[in-house]
């Protein structure tokens, strides 16, 4: 059909248009949803990394095999790190290495003749033999591994495939993923025999040793009831071409230590690096002997490890030899360690405390307790074949399993990498594959105080890395959450009042043109990178505040005082001047603020002399003990300063309510004077009262001064959140409908009354959401706290010391954390906490803001 223009037009949509429309729809829908999902992944991914922390461990049974040829009881059992071989030592002195797949014996060595040795102790890969002739001997038995070149390898293993093993002769060969050839062999080495003491021929009944910095501390009890305590040192004799072991130390008859001793102890256990020796009898009676001076050991404490009539059936220590594990005949295990306490009556100021119990379900005696060599895990083997794996600090039961092999359980040992478990009974050997998970972390250990070994009481501690191998990482998140909350609190204390007051003034009392210039200026603060603020906080503000702390504190008081004074002068001006010069108030304030600072600068030294003997930081640092003694330690000054803001508020209310009798031109001045006098008087009264009662502010919210502290952080972080709170609050105030304002003013209210009674309440929910968003920003702020907060994870309310926040902790530790370790996952948990905190805060703020919007529309 011809149109009016005479041109024929297609009635159908061109195919190109339809196609592009479809494409665009698909692309946008797909891309849009994908983007939204990608954003949502953040939370899910964090969860995905964190979740394994909470999952438990498991032990899957792998193999059961017959015992290789041994005679008599099995004394030791150990597995190699790659879990191909294990070795055990029988009573006859035979060390037998066998494959853990089929149980075939591959090598055997005789360590000693059965009639020579009376006891054997194994610790950190070394064996200490106590001999019947009163001497001792160190031995090592291990499954050493070395790498072979293809030329040196036996022909049988030349074509070994990656990941497979083969036993040739007395060695096991494996092709590693790097295609190298690894050989493992049983290796036995014996050191020289050394007599415990000259002329002592009494059989050694119990022996233990610990590694100290200057040698090995050896404790032994011989059949004649003598305790030998020796420090062994090894030196290499060039002439004889062998190592010579010398012992020095003391030997005392047991009765000399404690006259009531009649029998010989059943267990001998050294603690730590040989600082303490425990002699334990089967009934739980224990003597703790201070062995720090090797030549004169002395008894410091007598205790009962098992109250009641239970008998001790197994004894061991956790890695680091600080925690003692006691197994009893009912199958329970108890852990003990020594702590330094204030009220201790012992000579060394420490007492052994019963820290934890690991109860059992099956009441049969504990026969074996073996600690892991890389963490605080340990295995408990019971006579009925129950084997459990616990974590010594978090008390988590990592795995629980049963012996399937016949016979009576003798030993259950963790493999060196904690990825397996091997147990030996009188009849056979059984292995399990173990997945310990993250046993040191439980919800309880993360958020509740944990009693770590050596600590006087349960504490919140974050300490992820340490200098020694036996260091125990401590993941108490609360100290970091506390730091985060502390930073947020002080930041908001400073930021919120300032931002809200400034927002009210900007929206209600500034000319529109001025407002259009001032608002962007404050918003400029928001675009300042936080790394800049952090650097200024740490390198500029912190030294300034440290140098003139008193001035800063005094300025908090003088600034409002000077502004109030200026307001009174302003009120005294004639009304016509006031009305025409309304615009001059802000410039007036701009001049007044520096005057207030100057005033603070001038009077601060005087006040410091008056209240703090001229040294505020010294006053803060005075500890509880010195307080009473020195005059400078009087609590008065602190209370006086702390009371001023509160009494100032009280005085303002009192004068406002009761000051009506003051009339005339000078009324404002008189009221201000009255108010200030009242404020000072009340503050003095309160300070006197509290000082008289004997309370002191130090040790609570104030205390020893650190250069990097909460005050500085609060100030600078307040600076960072002011623009956010200010902008949102100002928007909320400005968007209150104009007719409300007009009605209020028309009804005769002053602009101030309108602002406070009409505008502010109407905008309250918007202002609240601004504060919430500011709070969210403060919680997650990283660079400022990282640089200016000192980063010590302590739980302390003191304004003048530092803290460590979740965010700063992540920033410092995550780059070094090993991927997928407990530490790594704990840092992800910190991130998840931050995420949750801010998400909840923001959602709350958003909901409140929606409500505000709805309400504003209704008005």
């Amino acid at each position: 059909m011809a149109s009016f223009t005479g041109q024929v037009r297609a009635r159908k949509t061109s195919r190109l248009v339809a196609w592009s429309d479809l494409c665009a729809r698909t692309a946008i829908t797909f891309g849009g949803i994908a983007t939204i999902v990608a954003v949502g992944t953040v939370c899910l991914f964090l969860l995905w990394v964190v979740l394994p922390l909470l999952g438990g461990g498991s032990a899957a049974e792998a193999k059961t095999m017959a015992l290789p040829g041994t005679k008599g009881a099995i004394l030791c059992l150990a597995e190699d790190p790659y879990r191909h071989l294990a070795w055990l030592l029988d009573e006859q002195g035979n060390a037998v290495a066998f494959g853990t797949q089929r149980g075939e014996e591959i090598a055997r060595a005789t360590l000693y003749a059965p009639e020579e040795v009376s006891c054997v102790m194994r610790h950190e890969g070394e064996l200490l033999l106590g001999r019947k002739d009163g001497s001792i001997q160190f031995c090592t038995v291990d499954l050493s591994s070395d790498f072979l070149s293809e030329a040196d390898a036996p022909a049988a293993v030349a074509n070994l495939e990656v990941g497979t093993t083969q036993i040739v002769g007395d060695a096991l060969y494996e092709r590693t993923p790097e295609r190298q050839l690894r050989r493992q062999q049983l290796r036995v080495a014996r050191q020289e025999m050394v007599a415990l003491a000259e002329g002592s021929k009494s059989s050694v009944e119990h022996v233990d040793f610990a590694s100290a910095s200057n040698g090995r501390v050896i404790a032994a009890v011989t059949a004649d009831g003598t305790l030998h305590l020796k420090l062994s040192s090894t030196r290499y004799d060039l002439m004889a071409d062998r190592e010579i072991v010398t012992l020095q130390g003391a030997q005392i008859p047991l009765a000399q230590l404690e006259p009531t001793i009649t029998t010989r102890p059943d267990f001998v256990q050294l603690l730590g690096a040989g600082e303490n020796l425990l002699l334990v009898w089967q009934d739980g009676r224990t003597l703790r002997i201070d062995t720090r001076d090797i030549d004169s050991p002395h008894l410091v404490e007598t205790l009962d490890l098992l109250p009641g009539n239970d008998r001790v059936t197994a004894l061991a220590t956790l890695l680091g030899k600080s925690t003692l594990l006691v197994g009893d005949e009912r199958g329970d295990v108890h852990s003990w360690f020594s702590v330094r306490t204030a009220g201790a009556t012992t000579q060394d100021g420490k007492v052994m405390v019963h820290a934890r119990s690991f109860p059992t379900a099956s009441p049969s005696a504990v026969v074996s307790i073996e600690a892991s060599s890389r963490s605080r895990l340990f295995t408990v083997g019971q006579a009925d074949g129950t084997i459990r794996v616990f974590h010594g600090t978090s008390e988590r039961l990592v795995a629980s399993t049963n012996l399937l092999a016949r016979g009576e359980l003798l030993h259950a040992v963790l493999s060196p990498k904690e990825d397996g478990l091997i147990a030996v009974s009188t009849e056979g050997v059984q292995t399990w594959a173990l997945q310990p998970g993250h046993p040191e972390v439980t919800l309880r250990s993360v958020f509740r105080p944990v009693w770590y070994e050596g600590y006087a009481a349960p504490e919140h501690t974050w300490q992820s890395t340490g200098g020694t191998d036996d260091f125990e990482p401590k993941f108490g998140l609360w100290s970091l959450i506390f730091g985060t909350l502390k930073a947020t609190f002080y930041c908001l204390m400073f930021g919120v009042p300032l931002a809200l007051l400034a927002a009210v003034y900007t929206s209600e009392f500034l000319h529109a043109r001025t407002r259009a210039r001032i608002k962007p200026a404050i918003e400029l603060m928001a675009s300042l990178p936080s790394v800049v603020l952090g650097f200024l906080a740490a390198l500029v503000f912190a030294p300034i505040v440290e140098r003139s702390l008193m001035t800063v504190l005094v300025a908090v008081l003088t600034l409002p005082a000077v502004l109030l004074l200026a307001a009174q002068f302003w009120q005294m001006a004639p009304p016509w001047l006031r009305n025409t010069a309304e615009k001059l108030r802000l410039p007036g304030a701009l001049i007044t603020v520096p005057i207030g600072l100057l005033l603070a600068f001038t009077i601060a030294p005087g006040l410091e002399r008056l209240f703090f003997a001229g040294d505020l930081k010294g006053w803060l640092a005075i500890g509880t003990r010195e307080r009473a003694a020195t005059d400078a330690g009087s609590a008065f000054g602190g209370w006086w300063f702390a009371a001023i803001p509160f009494t100032g508020l009280l005085a303002a209310i009192a004068v406002g309510r009761l000051g009506g009798f003051l009339q005339g031109r000078w009324a404002g001045m008189q009221r201000l004077g009255l108010g200030m006098a009242l404020c000072l008087a009340l503050a003095t009264g309160a300070a006197l009262l509290f000082t008289a009662i004997g309370w002191d502010l130090r040790g609570t919210v104030v205390g020893t001064y650190d250069q990097r502290n909460s005050l500085v952080v609060g100030f600078v972080m307040g600076f960072a959140v002011i623009p956010i709170i200010y902008t949102i609050a100002e928007d909320a105030l400005s968007s209150v409908p104009e007719h409300l304002r007009a009605a209020s003013l028309g009804a005769g209210a002053t602009p101030w009354q309108t602002a406070v009674r009409i505008i502010f309440p109407t905008a309250l929910s918007g202002i609240f959401s601004g504060v919430m968003i500011g709070l969210g920003r403060a919680v997650g702020e990283t660079m400022i706290v990282l640089m200016a907060a000192g980063n010590t994870p302590i739980v302390d309310f003191n304004v003048f010391n530092g803290f460590r926040t979740l965010s700063a902790n992540i920033a410092t530790e995550l780059p070094e954390a090993v991927r997928d370790s407990s530490h790594y996952r704990m840092l992800y948990l910190s991130a998840l906490c931050l995420f949750a905190m801010t998400f909840v805060l923001n959602t709350f703020a958003e909901v409140v803001r929606q409500r505000f919007r709805k309400r504003a529309y209704q008005l």
Partner: protein, 598 residues
């Protein structure tokens, strides 16, 4: 709303109780509010002024001050700052008795004296960069005319006096003025030779190693291939095709190894040539030496090539000072850092910051706009979409470090790790993409700023009047045509606003970058002349991280402080420049479309 209200015009005397009227006006509270605003303004401008003054004055040449102490010790250096302090008793006790009496007399009765921090340099001789000089120990303060400040390639600054200019070990001249004149003549060629040698080292020899590395990795990749086929052969029980494939792979591997060996032979020859050239340059440079004397008389000879800049600060005219000031700024903006970042320039950091921000913008805008378009134009409005909207809004408030944690775990370890395993197995176990990298940093920041872009784009889309859409539909346009021709152009200024906000936030963020790719010192820029030009897997330097590193990880933090201020000034400058550019773009777009409004 003009603040003058009807109430305030009411004559006071007509009120029953003027005292209450005063309270009603709330003047004290008004002043407190005004004071809060004033304090905020003072803080903002005070802070900016501090950064500008401190950062701007770093490079201005300061006179060299010579201080003679009471015990006769001489110190020469630049006064960094003065500060009051109260000397402790131990400090006096450490002094010799005759000096102690004079010093104690000089300290005022309140025990408060002052001291100045002198940057004395000469770290290689004294082991110190700075010295505190208490005022009560000074006996004479002078500004010696011929004191020289020398910025060196290594060991920091040198302060001293010229003794002679040596050529081949023989003094050319001993006259001080003449020394400086001759030095100025000989210095530029010496530095040029030094730069040439450096260039050969970096591009020539460095390029050779890169080439060799490339060939070695190629051979390694083929070796992995070969092993793969060997495995296949074993699996397939020596089938015909597997044998053939293995033979082919073995041959390729053999060729690659041969090529590598041949190349390394060629490279070794070339390297010898380069080294000879460098030696030649260095021999020539070793001939020119400036002999100097420190203030306490130690003689020190410095090769001219080692000297970056030398001047006699106490003889400088204003224009000469300006010249040095300008020259130092130029070096700061264009050169690489030296002396563990405390001296030299920050060019790699500027480059890294801008490149990262641009990459981030490239990533964030399309995705942000897609999501916003979907939520506003295509999705059905309902509870789900408003929930998503709230969630997206909230993500803008999630701490940046959380995104950094996500970036490290997801992008670097999982995503990057998979890329390495798939495409770069020959480089393992050293990671290529499985570590902090430019691309992961940009992606992380894009994710961080995505909510900002989504929210502002959505607002801009919502602000396009419905009448325009309806008009477009009425003319027969399809939905996509309407969006493309009518909605998007009008929403452009809003999208640009979102981009501005995103860029301002992205350029200033440091916390996530610490986890996903910003490093203290990157040997190579992520964008250079070797193919494929942009290297997304490289780490990069960032101005914000540079500030953190300089201020907190630096050995010589006192010397780093002025540099931190200058870097801060620069970072604020870069962010402002990005913002101004985007604002300009927005206003241009707005102007273009403002005429088209109905």
């Amino acid at each position: 709303m003009p603040p003058a209200s009807p109430t305030s015009r009411t004559p006071l005397k007509r009120l029953a109780n003027p005292g209450h009227s005063l309270r009603a006006r709330g003047e004290p509270m008004l002043w407190l509010c005004g004071g809060a605003l004033a304090l905020c303004l003072l803080m903002v401008f005070g802070l900016l002024a501090l950064v500008v003054v401190q950062g701007g004055s770093t490079f201005w040449p300061v006179p060299a001050t010579q201080v003679k102490l009471l015990d006769g010790t001489l110190r020469l250096g630049e006064v960094t700052r003065d500060e009051p302090f109260s000397p402790s008793r131990e400090q006096f006790d450490a002094l010799p008795p005759e000096v102690r009496t004079i010093a104690q007399q000089r300290v005022p009765s309140n025990g408060l004296s002052s001291r100045r921090l002198l940057r004395t340099g000469n770290f290689d001789i004294t082991g110190e960069h700075f010295h505190w000089v208490p005022t009560f120990l000074e006996s004479e303060v002078t500004t010696p005319e011929w004191a020289l400040v020398i910025e060196r390639q290594t060991w920091g600054r040198f302060y001293g006096f010229p003794v002679a200019l040596l050529e081949d070990g023989k003094p050319v001249t001993n006259d001080t003025a003449e020394i400086l004149r001759k030095f100025a003549e000989a210095h530029a060629p010496a530095r040029a030779r030094w730069h040439e040698a450096e260039a050969i080292r970096k591009q020539g020899i460095g390029g050779l190693s890169d080439e060799e590395d490339e060939a070695r990795l190629h051979a390694r990749a083929l070796e992995l291939d070969k092993e793969h086929y060997e495995e296949g052969l074993r699996r397939s029980n020596r089938s015909e095709s597997a044998t053939r494939a293995l033979a082919k792979a073995t041959q390729a591997h053999g060729e690659a190894v041969a090529a590598y060996l041949a190349l390394s032979k060629v490279c070794a020859e070339k390297r010898l040539g380069f080294e000879a050239k460098i030696r030649e340059l260095e021999t020539e440079n070793a001939r020119h030496v400036l002999l100097l004397r420190t203030v306490d008389g130690t003689e020190k000879s410095l090769p001219l090539a080692e000297i970056v800049r030398a001047y006699a600060p106490n003889r400088l005219s204003f224009t000469e000072s300006l010249g040095i000031y300008w020259d130092r700024w130029h070096e700061f903006l264009t050169a690489d850092p030296r002396e563990s970042n405390t001296e030299g320039g920050v060019w790699p950091a500027i480059f890294g910051t801008i490149l990262m921000t641009l990459l981030m913008s490239l990533l964030v805008v399309p995705f942000g706009v897609l999501a916003a378009l979907y939520m506003r134009e295509y999705a059905k409005a309902g509870f789900l979409i408003s929930a998503v909207r709230v969630a997206v809004n909230n993500l803008a408030g999630v701490p940046s470090i959380v995104f950094g944690v996500f970036g490290l775990g997801f992008f670097c370890y999982i995503f990057g790790g998979s890329i390495d395993a798939l495409f770069y197995p020959e480089r393992l176990p050293s990671p290529t993409f499985g570590k902090g990298a430019l691309v992961w940093a940009s992606l992380t920041l894009a994710l961080l700023t995505l909510p900002v872009v989504i929210v502002s784009t959505e607002e801009a889309l919502a602000a396009v009047p419905g009448s325009m859409r309806e008009g477009s539909y009425a003319c027969g346009a399809s939905k996509w045509q309407t969006i493309r021709r009518i909605v998007l152009p009008r929403a452009m200024p809003g999208i640009m606003t979102g981009l501005i906000l995103a860029m301002a936030r992205g350029a200033g963020e440091v916390a996530p970058l610490m986890l996903v790719g910003a490093v203290k010192l990157a040997p190579e820029l992520p964008l250079d002349g070797t193919a494929p030009f942009l290297h997304p897997s490289r780490s990069f330097m960032h101005l914000g991280f540079h500030i953190y590193d300089l201020g907190f990880q630096s050995q010589n933090s006192e010397a780093a402080k002025p540099m931190v201020f200058t870097t801060t000034l620069l970072l604020i400058g870069v962010i402002t420049a990005l913002n101004v550019f985007a604002i300009w773009l927005r206003s241009r777009l707005r102007r273009r479309f403002v005429g088209a409004q109905f």
